[in-house]
Symmetry: D2
């Protein structure tokens, strides 16, 4: 098979490591370079011992995460697994040089630079590039992703919130002003940062909310919800940290104007042909999706209050990050959308 | 000191074991009997190895959980740590014989036998006793608890939901029709039942909702919320199971008609003198309350949607069960309310 | 590609589920039947929701685990993922009918029926079959596995103990009378049994030894160690249960008569060409092997006491069970040994 | 009651926080000062939110950890909960000023400054003070602790290893040259250090050995074992990190020259009157000791190899640190040894 050469920029975080693991066994790609500012010059197998002995990773030596080094790499597509605010410096030159980019950070997920400024507190460094990027949630924007030069791969909370809500908003089955979301994430969602609050003994046997009331990811969530509803949508969102490595569980409360009976059928119809969305009557459990690219979705109706409860679960590092990036890549490269993911 | 003789009925579950631990070091009580249907005749130290060497527990041999055995026990107060539906058979005869009872089950928490029937699917076996029982949440019903013969000690989810909401409903600071609750509980909340779904490998690295949309505890929650609001209140409630031993974290969404500024001050004022409710600007974390009888409470306001987010944390086995029972007992016995709990 | 038809008998336990997951994405097999006594007639996707949407599993309906049902199945190889003592009833008739069998239980791992009797307390039901079976640890018995009709796939503790020790015993680099082993296993190693001791709240925040001093797996461990040493070997073995889903960590203490310098080179030489044994100076960590078929091995020497400390880590459900079974199958079927495993 | 004024130096680590919690409810003490270099000037309730509302802690404001500040404090006994190597600077001036000191670090646990140099790689800064300190394991050195001015409170691994071994070595019931120890510790044992290796996602679902082959705590362990055996003892020690907050489980392998029958009786006899050592036939489990000052001890004999397996469990932060310090303090202050600990 003709394998497509790809490079990974920033392989040291949890999403980057997961991306390496997925690409190592992807039948349609060849990983030609992996970069890390911190570990340049060291064998990948030392930094990512989990991957030693897997695919190309025994031969790979980390290169420096500089634009120059990367432009010299033989790769058609670059995956950027970098912290927020850092991707732009790479995406610009790479795109200009004719390479294609899948960005896992939040840098290219917003259409409107003013919204970026409101939520991130600074001007977007490259508003032109922002405008040309495609929001990388294949179930919503498949056709736009295929030819895209730059895809801002959708984040973990947004994926878990948008997949249940968008089909229902499109069909006017829920009141857009009634949406309230409570999510819980595994600790890997916070990244590999040596902060006291992320120590084992601070997170184990602990459950806590954080980032209230205006989490940054609200910007991309509301952008896509508004698009689906055809009107501006603002929601209340409460994220929590739960004592587990992986997984996001999302519980959405919303009022269905016409009652709850049509919700499950509408979701089933919307996702009937989708390979990675499993709609069912069963309540989602993160343990059924961790290590997979699936998003499980279900719904309950509470006739006592007239509210619906939508539920979903994803692996924050797979469908919420690295798997989503690979799914986007498969579309861009004209491969089977599920390649390397089932 | 003159120690009050007490007995524990059903010491084998998690709440019962925690109750034994609390009473073992309570300076005002003497545990004269511990009963267990399953373990009658065996030394307590064998069944509860954690308690071996602590206080009275080296000398105690489990007696049978029969009414006859219990009536023969020298004890002024009986703690019933029994499964739902079993307490009535003990509470009746004990009360008739002039003993006082703190029941940790849900059997005596409702005022209205019809509500019991609606939520539990059967007639209450002793509606007269039900009518005479007091709802055992000291922060709400302290004066009624003191002289009570039978107290239905408040449950874990209800405690975490009522303490933040009741003062605000009483002062009309939130719209009672707007209340939505998302809670997460540690696995001990499900009891020591050998069910496949509660195995370590099924709960660890797992987060899932359950009991939707009409959890039984809604009945006592709505009873007390309605009392506080002065009108019938129905809420939406989504409980979740989180991979930790102990702790309940509750996130409440509600609309404050007059804005969010008065909420924190109102909570601070309501609980200024309460020894076990800690109101603060800090977001609650279950790890700060596990092993304690505290309920931590905080609030955030989201001006974008006009909603308030109330948050609380308790240890489901202490303030949510055994500690609450001891707090109720202290009131009934005329002891310092914090005795054995700080 | 010409996919080999295989069947899985007993898919309901943890090893069986992992086996289904591995075979679902194995490029060289076609799963034609999955059986379960308990769930016959139900769709696999209901019982194993994690696998819904993966490969053949959306179409598979569990059949009954009876010999008759299984003999009617189109399958060249049968994987038996059954409790101890149950496999024989299936392995006999299947082998007689010309099918080949990979057994994941302990039923066919011993060469000597008397040892079976000593450790399992009863006569082996089919000593003739026992004598013809091959011990399924490919790194030790690759050539015997290829043509075997019946393979008793090696267990989790044995794999983690034999891989570090066998090459050193063969080369007389450690004193066989000095071997002491301390292992810790994740809770899935105990199986999906609804026993109180395996509940989340009993295992989380708990670490304990069990099965002392004569764990059943000692029989197969000592059989293979004796074979390697050329003399009878008896060891001391202390298994522990650790609060994690997966993973076995093994620490072996032994005296190297000629000092410790030659140990790491000997291990590196022994496993230079092995795809699934990673020898390194790095101390093994279960998190680097979970979800993989690797066994990580390292060694330290303590000049103060003259003892060596050998360390290893495997995923008990992969290299310790389902992955090992697939590796054995690959050899038997003449496929690439790593097929479906990297 | 006449409460003894005490101060805590360095309350920010896990041992310091546990010490604050224990002293907050100790009936015989009054906490007059708590110091922290990092948090001087801030209310204790902000830094240790778990303790808000408990005893003296609502009124306490952290003072600076300087010798001058501390000498100005009204306190008869100072608890030093500081990192290794820092205690000496405080212990010297405090002792000279006539105050008494319980040090929780490893700085004053060795009798021989040369051993300190060998294991810690530098000269002890105050060898005279070292010589005058008492090793703070009450079960071994009770009478020397009572009048001591400076106690080096025994560490967590040493406590779990010494309590099972010392009585048997004293009675020549095990061969001192045969001792091999494998221990596993919860992550709080590594301290509240913001290191990548201690992040939740690095420790959860992970088990690994570390510090091989010459862990620093070997020095105090071998010092006390040699004292008990009456001859120099060197042991092999393999510590492991397990995914739990608290608890140390220790498994000791040793050869009993006269067979295993006398071991359990000898342990029972040795600890018959001890309030905090529970000898039993039951295999220890960390969950039965966490949150307590107990050390559980048991033993098994393996007639196949002639070796004994000794097992123990402690809470690393209680009997392994803060509880032990309080037990030492109780002896020094002439209080009931169990005060504040049962």
């Amino acid at each position: 098979m003709n394998r497509i050469p790809v490079a990974i920029v920033g392989a040291n975080g949890y999403s980057g490591e997961e991306l390496c693991a997925l690409l190592a066994r992807h039948p349609g790609v060849r990983v030609t370079a992996v970069s890390s500012r911190q570990h340049a010059g060291r064998p990948a197998r030392e930094i990512l011992p989990r991957l030693a002995g897997s695919g190309d990773f025994d031969r790979i030596v980390f290169i420096d995460s500089s634009v120059e080094s990367l432009l010299a790499v033989e790769a058609e597509v670059f995956f950027l697994a970098l912290p927020h605010g850092v991707s732009t410096a790479f995406a610009g030159p790479l795109c200009e040089a004719g390479r294609r980019v899948v960005d896992l950070s939040a840098d290219f997920r917003l259409r409107d630079a003013r919204v970026y400024r409101e939520f991130y507190g600074e001007d977007h460094p490259s508003p032109g590039l922002l405008a040309s990027a495609v929001y990388g949630l294949p179930e919503l924007h498949r056709e736009a992703i295929r030819p895209a030069r730059l895809v801002g791969s959708a984040g973990c909370y947004p994926t878990s919130i948008l997949l249940p809500l968008v089909p229902l908003l499109r069909r006017k089955l829920i009141d857009p002003s009634s949406i309230i979301v409570s999510s819980a994430s595994g600790v890997s969602g916070a990244g590999r940062k040596a902060e006291p609050g992320l120590l084992f003994s601070e997170c184990n046997e602990s459950l806590r909310a954080y980032g209230l009331p205006k989490h940054r990811h609200l910007s991309e969530i509301e952008q896509e919800l508004s698009l689906a509803a055809g009107c501006p949508v603002a929601i209340t969102f409460a994220p929590h940290l739960a004592p587990m490595n992986r997984g996001i569980h999302t519980t959405i409360f919303a009022t269905p104007p016409d009652g709850g009976d049509g919700l499950l059928p509408a979701l089933e119809a919307a996702y009937a042909g989708e390979p990675f969305v499993r709609v069912s009557d069963r309540l989602p459990d993160t343990k059924h999706v961790t290590g997979t690219n699936f998003c499980d979705v279900s719904v309950r109706h509470d006739p006592r209050t007239g509210r619906a409860i939508l539920l979903s679960a994803v692996d924050n590092l797979v469908k919420g990050a690295a798997g989503q990036a690979v799914q986007n890549f498969n579309l861009m490269a004209g491969l089977e959308e599920t390649a390397g993911l089932l």
